[in-house]
Amino acid sequence: MTAPAPASPTSPASATALPPATWAAIYLRSLAVQGSWSSELLLGPGVGFCVEPALRRLPGGVGGEPYRQALARQTRYFNAHPYLASLAIGALARAELNRVPPVQLERFRTAMCGPLGSVGDRLVWARWLPFCSAVGLLAFALGATPGAVLLIFLALYNVGHLGLRAWGLRAGWRSGLKVAGALGAAPLRQGPIYLARGVAFVAGLVLPLLLAGAVGPGRLPLAATILVALAIGATLVRLQGRVEGWRVALIALAGLALYSVR
């Protein structure tokens, strides 16, 4: 079987379209991209697992030499934010089907690790997740039923989550190895700024509501709770990165519990 001539990485249009079933398989597999996460290969095997359905279309099919070589390349060390890894998965699937030279593929994989990690961490973990949590807490503080709180939080979060994965695959496939430009898209660049404002506003609404709901009408417990929150909060802010709230709470509450049953 004659292999197609290597395509230029700047001509992604040379790959044929993937059938919907292959896209569905890649998308579902991308949800488990961290399934075998390890400190040795990080997301490497996961990326190989996700790209594999596309590689079956290489000349010779499953088990053919091009398939084996491509799969071996794609399971090597790789790191990225799990949601934005789909951008690399789409790009790598296209590049492999275009028979881009291995050296260029390796260079691309190395270059994408840092940006895909930092952009994703900043957008998703540091902004989108806290925003959705704050909205869920607002629903709780306003007295929504447990089912409604779950629905609001999960629906809101996963519109962003599943949408980002789908966008990543599409953008990666469309742009091929020139996908770095997609990382400069306005929602990825400006999104964290607007989301931070959103988190700040919603959390501002939530905190007084939670406080009032938790402590009730008594003035002394209310004042004491505010005092504890501000004093320990200020300490945590000052020691950020060294001391975490949950550790302080574990020690303090375990101490109180032990004292209670002495």
């Binding site: 398939y67 090597r76 089912g147 609404l205 417990p221 709770t225």
Partner: protein, 229 residues
Amino acid sequence: MTGVELLPLAILGGVLALDVVSFPQAMLSRPLVAATIAGAFAGSAIHGLLLGAIVELFALEMLAVGASRYPEWGSASVVGGALLASAAPADPMAPTLAAALVATLIISWIGGWSMYGLRRLNGVLARRAIPALERGEGGAVARLQLVGLTSDLLRGSLLTAAGLVVLAPLAGRVAQGSGVSPTVFGVAIWGLALAAAVSALSRIVRGSPGAGWFLAAGLAGGVALVATR
């Protein structure tokens, strides 16, 4: 807690622990969700939600970034939510809530370590599989994924079951203790949870121009809402 009660909670803990990193990361494992579902399993979703909301305030402070070690909230919230819901306390609730919260924090801490252990195990398996991966064997890739996912599911289930078996009696003792007033427990729980939220919020506000004004506007709105309720 009987085996019949324990089994569904252990399976739930496993599934939600799997969501933390391995599959599908849809945030089913967030305390707000996991504790509420566990509460529903144990007979009171509303108690699960209460615990979940408090733990969510602590979770806001933690970023689950890359290889860092962080608390595993999925199975921990199942343990805490189930403990609080199965006690179904009336009034005063604070001692039972404190006991369930301590149980959640202990399991989240152990869970973080168990995730670290699982990553090391995955590393050993990955190193062994490297020759097969370099030969491009599709079966080796699928096996690595399958073993990783199954191990994570088992890790979460065992952790949840062990947490419930070991901590349920201790939580029961704390709930019946009389050395600390319920008001003190309440002040400590909410004061500490809100302090963690303040710390998380400060990191977001400091890193974003203009966010401080939005926080001030939100706080004003929140106080106004409280005043009108």
